[in-house]
Amino acid sequence: MVQRVAYFVTCIADTVFPEIGEAGFEVLARAGVSPEFPLGQTCCGQPAFNAGFNDEARQVAEHFVEVFADYEAIVTPSGSCAAMVKHYYPLLFRGHRRQANAQRIAERTYELTEYLVDVLGVRDLNAALPRPTRAAVHDACHGYRGLGIARQPRLLLSYVRNLTLVEMIGHDQCCGFGGLFAIKMSALSGAMLRDKLAAIQSTECDLIITGDASCMMHINGGLSRVGSPRRVVHIAQVLAGNVRY
């Protein structure tokens, strides 16, 4: 019996970074999965939820629950969005008529590398970088601390040809993004970003890899602002073999 697997691209990888969306989809195909892409999907609701607007978050989450109701697995290239669905949908829908559905969906949602390694048992995706490269992982907070994702991306990256993985000091330190935090508490978020940029600048690697497009947007926005040519890339891009740097 083949699982019905849905791909949740996330709003940010759909609109801001479609290349990450494509890479995630491609990686699943490489792993032998034929994911479906439910066309009605939008967002998990996290922006409103993190701002304390639970009613608004629930309205968007209800839509999510409807769209993804019929799948055995929902895979997304974001630890943050996966954590929103897995941890907070059960709370958000407590006592709600869709509680059971939300609970089921929470149990079936996976971050991409978690799904590849822990569910499918994938190791080698036959990916390669164009030239010998030292790379480090920036662990995105919600995936790392919320879902315990640290081993999976490193394992998958260890099979990528031309890639030597090193650890960055402060690899698990927040970049300061935090959704609306970056806008509402801009100076504070900016100070955290500066710390992250300093950590990145002090590593001797050519490539920083992360699992969340939102952190990537934030850190790259900071690198661009200070005139640095370096960029963070998404792990799906590395695993799909279409990363430019």
Partner: protein
């Protein structure tokens, strides 16, 4: 109300070079010490969980344990007083001072007395009070407030400290902490001998024997509680624990998490005043148990926050605290736990920015020795603020519109396309925007914003699906 608006306090902290140096040194040392000390235990996660269970055992039957504690303290020859709020606690101590004709007080470190503003209350009645903890003494000299639960002068560099001791007490300038410590010790000795009453905090109150436990490294707590003829210990009512077994778990986690020590240099265990067969100790012992909003928290969905053992690990680990230090939080309890405890103790609208002063990165929860889920409580406090109508009308309308757009695939696509077109039209160099209009300008104050990729993933997916099905035909 916040003394200084939070945004302003953040601005000042980020611009303060001395503070930034001190924060970097202090928090880095704190984090590394904790990681090393926790790392040498056989199973740090199991230990944390044991500690959590010990705290839950206490909180689950708090009224009963407090009564047991009271009975046992009295049986040991001590007095127990209850304080509903800060003012009542200060009044109790003033009454004791009056009864015993107290002029001079020495006080070992106690966050609860910071919470009640005890020093001011005593001084207003002409009673001289001296902090005996080195860090607390130095900031008392400087006329400042503690900026950290465990390291009250974490915001001060040793260079600034030497200058202060030189200016205030005539200490010859030095850059050696040992020399400064020895100098202050000489000053402090006189204070102990002079004091009529000693005050201390409580780290744990062990109900089954009526014993109060404190941890310290300077011996100042021991001197403050045993030299003067009267000892007054003050505690928040959540500090009670059931048994010595629970103490054994909690005390090692406290010292490992707070200072990275297996054990602090002094572990004081006090069960009442001096007994007839004992050579020293105070003639009278009072334990004052403070509520000040805690029983209300216990009955709420924030009860978990009372499990806190005030180790300060979440402060050190927090990237926000690392950048702004403790004073920016505006009240006694800073850092992630302070962002929860402050609005809970004083009312949500007294500190409406604190729950938002977090990227929800979770470093605090990972550091917490009793597994307190701080990010979840910050989220709940944000929800409470929204329900209380705190966010501006603009934000409320904005979120309403966002929800309408994002629950409709049509509006979502349309919005995405407009944003994509706009950002691409306005992007200049290398696909980035240097400036966004309000309310998004906060973003571009500190980083560039990328132009959206085009076409969207959805459009690419559909195009591919179409070409596949055309090819099949």
């Amino acid at each position: 109300m916040e003394a200084v608006p939070f945004e302003r306090a953040v601005h000042l902290a980020l611009a303060d070079e001395q503070l930034q140096i001190a924060l970097d040194r202090g928090t880095t040392r704190g984090v590394n010490a904790r990681l090393a000390a926790m790392g040498e235990t056989t199973d740090p996660q199991a230990l944390r969980h044991q500690a959590r269970l010990a705290r839950e055992r206490a909180l689950n039957r708090l009224p009963e344990l407090l009564e047991q504690l009271e009975r046992n303290v009295i049986a040991n020859g001590g007095h127990v007083l209850w304080a509903r709020d800060a003012d009542e606690l200060n009044q109790h101590i003033l009454t004791i001072c009056r009864q015993h004709n107290v002029r001079h007080v020495v006080k070992a470190k106690s966050m609860v007395t910071e919470e009640t503003g005890l020093n001011h209350a005593l001084q207003a009645h002409g009673i001289d009070v001296v902090e005996s903890d080195l860090g607390e003494y130095i900031i008392q000299l400087a006329g400042e407030a503690p900026s950290h639960i465990v390291f009250p002068m974490l915001h001060k560099t040793k260079e600034a400290t030497a200058q202060l001791l030189h200016d205030k007490l005539g200490m010859p300038l030095t850059d050696q902490p040992e020399v400064m410590t020895r100098f202050v010790r000489g000053v402090m000795r006189q204070k102990y001998l002079q004091a009529d009453l000693g005050i201390s905090g409580v780290n744990f109150a062990i109900a089954e024997t009526g014993t109060i436990a404190t941890v310290e490294n300077e011996g100042n707590n021991r001197l403050s509680t045993s030299t003067p003829p009267i000892h007054v210990a003050v505690m928040g009512l959540e500090k009670v624990i059931a048994t010595w077994e629970d103490y054994a778990v909690l005390v090692q986690l406290l010292s490992r998490s707070a200072t990275g020590q297996r054990m602090t240099v002094y572990n004081n265990l006090i069960s009442g005043p001096r007994r007839p067969d004992e050579p020293d100790g105070p003639e009278a012992f009072y334990l004052i148990i403070l509520d000040n909003g805690r029983s209300r928290i216990l009955a709420s969905e924030y009860a978990e926050s009372l499990a806190c053992i005030r180790c300060g690990a979440c402060l050190n680990a927090c990237p926000v605290y690392q950048n702004i230090g403790g004073h920016a939080y505006g009240w006694v309890y800073p850092g992630p736990i302070g962002a929860i405890v402050t609005p809970l103790l004083r009312g949500p609208l007294t500190a409406p920015r604190l729950p938002y002063a977090s990227s929800l990165c979770g470093a605090c929860q990972t550091a917490c020795p009793v597994e307190i889920n701080i990010p979840d409580m910050l989220l709940k406090l944000r929800r409470d603020l929204v329900q209380a109508g705190d966010p501006t009308l603009g934000w409320r309308i904005g979120m309403r519109l966002w929800a309408i757009a994002f629950r409709s695939p049509l509006f979502y696509r349309l919005g995405g396309r407009i944003a994509s077109w706009l950002t691409r039209a306005l992007a200049r160099d290398k696909g980035y925007l240097r400036r966004l209009p309000p309310p998004f300008n906060g973003w571009t104050d500190h980083r560039d914003f990328p132009a959206f990729g085009a076409p969207s993933f959805r459009a690419r997916y559909l195009a591919r699906a179409n070409s596949r099905s055309n090819g099949k035909r």
